[in-house]
Amino acid sequence: MSVIKCEDLSFAYGTQRVLEGVSFHIEKGEKIGIIGLNGSGKSTLLRLMIGLLKAESGTMHVLGMPVQRENLKALHRRVGYVFQNVDEQLFMPTVYDDIAFGLKGTASADTVKESVESILKRFHIMHLRDKAPFQLSGGEKRAVAIATVMVMAPEIVLMDEPTEGLDARMRRKMTAFVKASPETFVISSHDSAFIRDICHRVIVLKTGHLIRIDTPEVLFNDFDFLEANELI
């Protein structure tokens, strides 16, 4: 069953064409990587999936719903999004409050506390519980940002550059975490080793066009293609 269906999608910021005629399907439980040069439209594509941007033409369906205003509330409950810039994602006074934010009003205070503490343990960030998010190190912020999204048990997780700024240990943890999660993941990244490790298929964007979609085994061994598109 396809959980994300994108058909002939185009988008422009003002007069600048950023995506053009992009089509693909993503199946439930798949881990999909998006790679491409800086400015190729990876972040834009993710933002279109969650409705932060509106397509100019073409359609985007997520979990069977067209990504449109009236579905956004339902979509945001079921789809998580980790920002490329973590400073934009965290906004509450403490790490605990930030992680609890999405759960407030949906569950009792005790349940919220339980869920938050279990996610803090799972991400090994219990010691950051009462710190202010903006005082954390880059990698710590990243871990907290992912926790704020995962605590809501999303069916689909969109992540923009999740390994940026992580040390080897954190990166290994992240790899293990994504691999072990049953959810559908769509991950934009410049970290080809990471993408190769965790993804079932990889989408390649080039100046707004989807030029290839393939398994990492095939793609990352096609040196002619990688070289021709400056991906290595």
């Binding site: 956004l72 509450m92 999405g102």
Partner: protein, 238 residues
């Protein structure tokens, strides 16, 4: 000793109540007429218990308002030239208006800095929530405020980057200054927008409460009433 205990007592007053007191105080200060300027001195004394920062820091913050006050005030000097007499002293209307503006302006700034310094941003948020300011607004304001710290860093980075590239000359050339504030404004707008998006994406529900609101104690009310009585007594006593 006794002063210290008064100070500490006032610093514990509920931030919502203090916010109300500050607004009353500001309105009174700003509306003071030139013939009542001496009230300001006594009102200033009443503001003292609310202060908690060392005078140096406080003075520096007030200095930032000075160019603006002077700029507005100087224009009065040229516009209003008719003679006016207050406190048995005959000057022009413009000079009196200038003096009044400086006094009132500085006092207003003083009140705000004292208030902001004495209660934390969290306290202010608490006070605003108590006054039923919409939570969305309070959350975004807090985030943007925190971002100011990042903005200051950004300015530092921008100036450092500039200086490194300008061959060791210190300071930023005047030409470059024009675009700096604009950049910062755009950055903070972008931050406010991003925060709003981040909230929406995590299913922000305006009906749920995210920031706790602290309760008011009887002592908060009595302290506030005493302060208000002292404040209101000034025009009668003088």
């Amino acid at each position: 000793m006794i002063f210290k205990s008064i100070f500490n007592r006032f610093r514990r007053v509920h931030s919502g109540i203090r916010l109300v007191l500050m607004v009353i105080w500001l309105i009174a200060v700003v509306q003071t007429k030139p013939e009542h300027l001496h009230y300001l001195i006594f009102w200033m004394l009443l503001q003292l218990p609310h202060m908690s920062v060392e005078p140096k820091k406080w003075g520096r913050q007030m200095l930032m308002a000075e160019p603006f006050l002077l700029f507005v005030g100087l224009s009065y000097l040229f516009v209003y030239r008719a003679p006016a007499t207050y406190y048995h002293l005959t000057l022009t209307e413009g000079i009196w208006a200038f003096i009044a503006l400086l006094l009132r302006g500085n006092l207003a700034v003083m009140g705000i800095t004292a208030f902001v310094n004495a209660i934390s941003m969290e306290g202010l948020a608490d006070g605003m929530r108590w006054l039923k300011v919409p939570e969305t607004f309070v959350l975004i304001m807090m985030q943007t405020y925190r971002y100011i710290g990042l903005m200051v860093q950004k300015v530092h980075q921008m100036t450092t980057a500039y200086c490194l590239r300008s061959g060791g000359k210190t300071g930023v050339h005047l030409d470059a200054w024009g675009s700096f504030p604009g950049q910062l404004l755009l950055l903070s707008l972008k931050q406010a927008e991003a925060t709003h998006e981040a909230m929406m994406l995590r299913g922000y529900n305006p009906a749920a409460s995210y920031i706790g609101i602290s309760k008011i104690q009887i002592s908060d009310l009595t302290d506030a009433i005493i302060w208000l009585l002292l404040f209101a007594a000034v025009p009668f006593v003088l």
